[in-house]
Symmetry: C2
């Protein structure tokens, strides 16, 4: 029990690697991001669900391809074997499989996910981070929900004040068709797809080497793939691919191209086609996508060009011990700031019966920490208030009979709280006026309610606006009976102006 | 890759034991609880922080007494050894110790915590559950923050519509003084305290047996304790204890009684003294409390009386397998709905230097799942809407040239979204009017915007209020150019009325 015994224990005072505390103005900014995105989600008819932070391990198994090694496991303490969720998509699919009466839903979910990855904290690449997901599940006419998801991507990022973004878009059916017509064996499609996915970080030569040396593809097949995956554009590219005689022989590619055609009609109707870059190099790592895949990228997404690196710094950064709780390298970009795609077969993977096994889904996930790092860099932090206190309740008096009016300040504060007004007071029996004004100033409270030694006994307090500078006045005398009404009105006026 | 291979894997489709999914109207109700409590917290000047869901295991070690066995550990996957947080208080203390420049803070934190306890899900006793914590840290005049915390307890529960609650309050210094004057050796104080803590669930005879048989106390000492811990009351009890000559010899008890006296002055000023029951049987399990301790209880907190149990049912319920994912017994109460206390030495346990080792804290934690189960039982769920869609965009037409106006509906929806209006449309190229009205009705959308086959080509749509029953009219013709302004105004009027 005695604290001396316990303080003898030695330990490192830190948060676990890749995690951090959020506080003060950062919390205000992050909450604003949540509010903005939630607002967009609700605008599109979203309802929200919440799933546990850990799932039975077998639920997560076999869903993430090469990235499965990044899953955090809970210790076996007797009972079920569980893992922390890696994303919000697989838990959503598990939820749908468990609730077969839900035949369609637009759900959003804002929550933390966990990945045992190498962190780069200042760029918002963390081991514990938030995702803001919106997914549309249900049997619908092709590409309508997909195009609404893209509209949500555009609206969400625009609402957050991010304008210089592009949505790189591809279609798994087209990509799979390309691999097929180039001569990739069926069993190798996903691993070749993983290699292609690295094209945003590596030059083609490196990706080709991975395909041929690590993944045993012939150089000839790799080169054929190389010809396709360098293509990007818009409707022009779509039309070009439709004329490709090789692709025309592949059922998957033909279906994908047809879907892309419908998609272009709808994104035109939404007026967002200029945001979309049809990019055959985009592959996305995850196994479960079956239709469109896309990533929203901005200038901050890419790593800085090599020329920015001071000499030798790269090497130095690489020699850092790997378990150090800080950036392993400053030379990474924030990555994509939102991404997603269609996954028509994920829910079916959880269904033991054939009956409910088809539940087509398409979704988006906003990466909050990455968005935060971009938004914070642009924000004037001096204008952000952490606390939102409206009124500071003070008492002024003096002389040997002066009690400090502590119970009186408590009673006035309670009156304000009961009226829903945000009020604080100084936690001391006889604080000096200066102390009270400084405290009010520190939290940025716009109004003071002052209990004067004489006036208060007659049921009168002074209400004074703060932070007016040279326009400051003495304040208004207000009867205690009218106080909450007066202050409520004053605060409403101040908010308007 | 082929889904057939994967669906061959067998697994149990469920959430882990003691956890559940939240969806639909439950989510709306729970969000309302969060909003209500957050509003109260902000009213008292609270700022929010967020800490990781897991901590280094050594941070949690030695803080929870007998309950430490309930901590979830992460698997050792190479790297740091971590555990899921058990509460929000220890992470807050760790945060304060890591940020010594913060000398005072009123912080709130609404987040999930984890306990490997025996769940009783319908009563809101879960393994993953939310806590809503407000804590005041800093060196202040005695008992001022403590009384504000009690005011927050009263305001929070009242704002949630819970009126039949009592705050059972005790003081660790008084309790420790009682144990001392009754003859409990120093080393046994915490375990005897744990035994006393069971008095809300067990009769005195059982608690006495635990003290004497399991914890080796003499029957004489136990009986002396029994005389004290049966006492409860208000200021009358406080005055009685002040006259107790035995307690008057104990420094700790005298200090506790003096603090209780100050507390009564302040809770009187707040007008909440009627809510407080000074109850010497309250001990609280956690090791870290050093001053006031309290629990808010309501009728639903206690287990139902024994007479309610159908014959033999108790036995049956006990014979259930322990790892089944459901209530182990219906015969438990929801427990306390909010609780907390003062912990002046917890932050110091994390400080390696003496300098910052004193950071007095007092706090409250609202148990959301327990509050939820009480509130849901009282709520008219038919009035709760899961989605908040305002406008359903429809198209009416017919004949062989009728296209269904899908791109047109997308374009009108986008116009509404861009103006911040919550709009949905039917995901089909040619839906029937009935289908569209039914869909609008299902989500409770109050307004329809209808694209008529003829009118739309002249730039006119119909805006129709829904759910008016027999007062229903044909709707108003509105030009596309004026649409968002018209709808915004209409929705504002409907909200007001």
């Amino acid at each position: 029990m005695a604290p001396k015994e316990k303080s003898a224990v030695q330990f490192t005072l830190k948060t676990p690697k890749g995690t951090k505390d959020w506080a003060d103005k950062d919390m205000v900014l992050r909450s604003r991001i949540f509010d903005t995105i939630t607002d967009v989600f609700k605008r599109h008819g979203g309802v929200t669900i919440d799933t546990p932070v850990f799932e039975l391990r077998e639920i997560l198994a076999g869903k993430y391809g090469e990235d499965s090694k990044l899953i955090y496991d809970l210790k076996d303490q007797g009972g079920e074997i569980c893992s922390l969720r890696y994303d919000l998509t697989v838990p959503f699919a598990r939820f749908l499989a468990m609730n077969p009466t839900i035949q369609n839903i637009k759900r959003y979910h804002i929550a933390k996910v966990y990945r045992r990855d190498q962190p780069a904290m200042t760029k918002g690449r963390m081991r514990e981070f938030y995702q803001c997901d919106f997914d549309i599940a249900g049997q619908y006419e092709t590409m309508i929900p997909d195009s609404e998801i893209l509209a949500i991507a555009v609206e969400g990022l625009t609402a957050l004040g991010i304008d210089d973004f592009v949505i790189k878009l591809n279609h798994r059916k087209i990509l799979d068709g390309i691999f097929k017509v180039c001569g990739v064996p069926d069993v190798d499609v996903r691993k070749i797809s993983s290699a292609v996915d690295k094209l945003d970080k590596l030059p083609w030569e490196d990706v080709k080497r991975e395909m041929t040396e690590e993944k045993n593809l012939s150089a000839e097949v790799a080169d054929k793939i190389g010809e396709y995956v360098k293509l990007k554009g818009g409707l022009d590219l779509l039309n070009k691919l439709k004329e490709d005689t090789a692709l025309a022989t592949n059922e998957s590619a033909v279906a994908g191209l047809k879907e892309m055609e419908a998609l272009y009609t709808y994104i035109k109707a939404f007026g967002i086609e200029d945001r979309i870059s049809f990019d055959l190099s985009l592959a996305r790592g995850l196994d479960y996508y079956t239709g469109i895949i896309y990533e929203c990228v901005t200038a901050a997404s890419a790593p800085p060009p090599v020329s920015e690196k001071p000499d030798g710094n790269q090497k130095k950064s690489k020699s850092k011990p790997k378990d150090q709780d800080e950036d392993v390298s400053e030379y990474v970009g924030v990555g994509s700031i939102a991404a997603g795609g269609r996954y028509d077969e994920l829910v079916g993977m959880f269904s033991n019966s054939k009956k409910n096994s088809v539940m087509p889904c398409v979704g988006i996930s906003f990466g909050v920490e990455r968005l935060f790092s971009i938004i914070k860099a642009k924000e004037d932090l001096s204008k952000v208030r952490a606390a939102e206190t409206d009124v500071y309740v003070m008492a002024f008096g003096g002389g040997k009979d002066w009690t400090g009016f502590l119970p009186e300040r408590l009673s006035v504060s309670k009156k304000l709280w009961n009226a829903g007004i945000r009020a604080e007071f100084f936690y001391k029996s006889k604080p000096k006026p200066r102390q009270q004004f400084d405290a009010a100033d520190k939290i940025g409270a716009p109004v003071a309610v002052i209990l004067g030694q004489e006036e208060y006994t007659t049921g009168i307090v002074k209400v004074k606006e703060l932070g007016l500078g040279e326009n400051s006045d003495e304040g208004k005398d207000v009867s205690l009976d009218d106080l909450t009404e007066y202050v409520t009105k004053l605060l409403a006026e101040k908010t308007k102006s």
